[in-house]
């Protein structure tokens, strides 16, 4: 039985399949291990940043600082982590703690997350520029080796992105704490009255966002091999768009981790697809915007019917 809600859930996957198929048709040579590996190179850091964003969106907030944060993690890892691993790990842990503290601050003072994370994005960028005024540094060898690892048959980025999506999906959608966390986005008052500490939930969700942000920064550094404070500035918007493309909503705790990863992959792939189409570089971003609009319009059409039937 094909219901509208099923179509709605399947839409992110269908979009990815269509973009992938279109890419194969336009450029058949991409239909190979090497081609896929190349196109999906950046899938892992983007997927991780999107997951980070998703945790914040789950509790009805928005993180405008994730892009610069990913850049900062790269800068720290290419310098401190390389020279002094113990100190580097400590610094990364401190960053995650910062994220949790920001969650606490936002909850306790009832602050608009958009503004706080906006300010935070300057802080991350500032620290990153202080550490590395110009692009440089070096990725630790183990990180490069990890990202360059060749899996048999299916390229690593695809497997890794899917594993990330599935693990987080199980954790957030199936575990009882996941239900509580999403409930906090759905109706914070009800959860608080049921005895759950909203403060704890926010701190944990923000700390998780920090954790996945750190992973994103590390994996990105493994690919780029040298760091740049501005390398991930676009990740902020990419991650938000990915969550929404994947079927998430800004309010109500309605998110889908697997969908978010798939949404992020679709956007990343769309970039390669447009290059293969030989669209004038002037229209590259525009076409990306158009793809976003088309997918969301489709979803609106499906949901509209869902509400009526």
């Amino acid at each position: 039985m094909i219901t509208r809600s099923l179509i709605r859930k399947a839409l992110p996957f269908l979009s990815l399949a269509i973009v992938l198929l279109a890419t194969f048709i336009v450029q058949p040579r991409t239909m190979s291990y090497f081609g896929l590996n190349l196109m999906m190179q950046y899938a892992v850091p983007i997927a991780l940043a999107t997951i980070a964003q998703m945790f914040v969106i789950t509790v009805n907030d928005l993180d405008l600082s994730i892009g610069p944060f990913v850049g900062l993690v790269g800068c720290i890892s290419a310098t401190l982590l390389l020279d002094n691993p113990a100190l580097g790990i400590l610094a990364l842990l401190a960053l995650m703690a910062c994220y949790g503290a920001v969650g606490a601050l936002i909850h306790l003072r009832n602050l608009p997350s958009i503004v706080v994370t906006l300010g935070l994005s300057f802080v991350w960028l500032g620290i990153a520029v202080l550490i590395l005024p110009s692009p440089g540094g070096k990725a630790p060898e183990w990180l490069k080796a990890m990202m360059a690892f060749k899996m048999p048959i299916v390229p690593l980025p695809i497997i890794a992105a899917l594993v990330i999506g599935i693990v987080v999906h199980l954790a957030l959608m199936q575990s009882s704490y996941g239900v509580v966390a999403r409930g906090a986005g759905g109706n914070a008052k009800a959860m608080a009255r049921a005895g759950w500490s909203m403060l704890n939930i926010k701190v944990i969700m923000y700390a998780l966002a920090g954790f996945f942000g750190v992973l994103s920064g590390l994996s990105l550094l493994g690919l780029t091999t040298s760091a740049d404070a501005h390398v991930a500035d676009r990740y902020t918007l990419f991650s938000i768009a990915g969550v929404i493309l994947g079927g998430g909503e800004f309010i109500g705790g309605r998110v889908s981790p697997l969908g978010a990863v798939v949404g992020a992959l679709t956007l990343a792939l769309a970039g390669s697809f447009l290059i293969f189409l030989k669209i004038s570089p002037d229209w590259q971003i525009g076409a990306q915007g158009a793809i976003l609009i088309i997918v969301l319009a489709l979803r609106a059409a499906v949901s509209f019917g869902e509400a009526r039937s």
Partner: protein
Amino acid sequence: MSRITSFLRARPWAWSFIAAAAVWLATVAYTGGQGAGEILTAALSFATFAIIVGLGQMMVISTGPGNVDLSIPATITLSGVVAMKVMDTDSSRMLIGIVAALACALAVGVFNFVLIRLLRIPPIIATLSSSFLVLSTAISYGRGIRIKPPPPLADFATARIAGIPIAAVFVLLITVLIAFALRRTFYGRSVLAVGQNERAAWLAGISVDRTRFITYVLSALLSGVCGIVLSGFSGGAALNMGEDFLLSSIAVVVIGGTSVAGGRASVPGIWGAALFMFLLVTMLNTFGASAGLRFMLTGLIIITVIVLAGGEKESR
């Protein structure tokens, strides 16, 4: 003391002016009183642009949670590019240029609303995707060399009388108009009503759609105005001229005391916040802070201001 706190509580925008004054005093104290006036004049000139788009962003944010216009930077760029290209340094073509640029901005506003209303795309994503399209249009149309603004436009954007930029007076006029619209017109009251409770506003007979439509178009038009004046000010349009305004348009609205949840707008706060943001950068420059330190302190101070000013009061 309690009188002061109650004064501040009733006027959330006062914080931004206090912050701006404090930052200015700190700068002047550091230089030993040198250049106090020049700093204010420069702040007024540069703040002007953030104020124009901030007013539009304020109206959009006031129409309720989730409403925000991320297409402002792209619209600024497009209108700047169109204005410069149509005017083509010819003073007699200024009017056509302005009309063409504003028409483009108008089209962006209408397009945003269509995405939000007909396609039911959340405003953040809708204006983000449309900004991609708009930016691509600007890039492809504005290809090539930088065209200088016609002299009258450049004069208008840069002239000063007794240290006060003419453009700032012009923006003050727009500000007064918007403040009047918010307080005294049906449209303005509708914006706040829709922002406070969409359903209640609808039941009271307000057309939510029409209110939002006007608001998104207004924001786009103000971005258009900003694009034109900014190109006059900086000697031509550039493809990255709008970049800074994504963050600053939102920051001036919120630091100025407008509620992010919608329904409560603070017009004077936009001025205070825009001046504060610019004076802050001036202060850090005067202190000789490096780029990294400047970014970091700007961020920390924005967070401090919002923490001090307090968040939304618990609703219900």
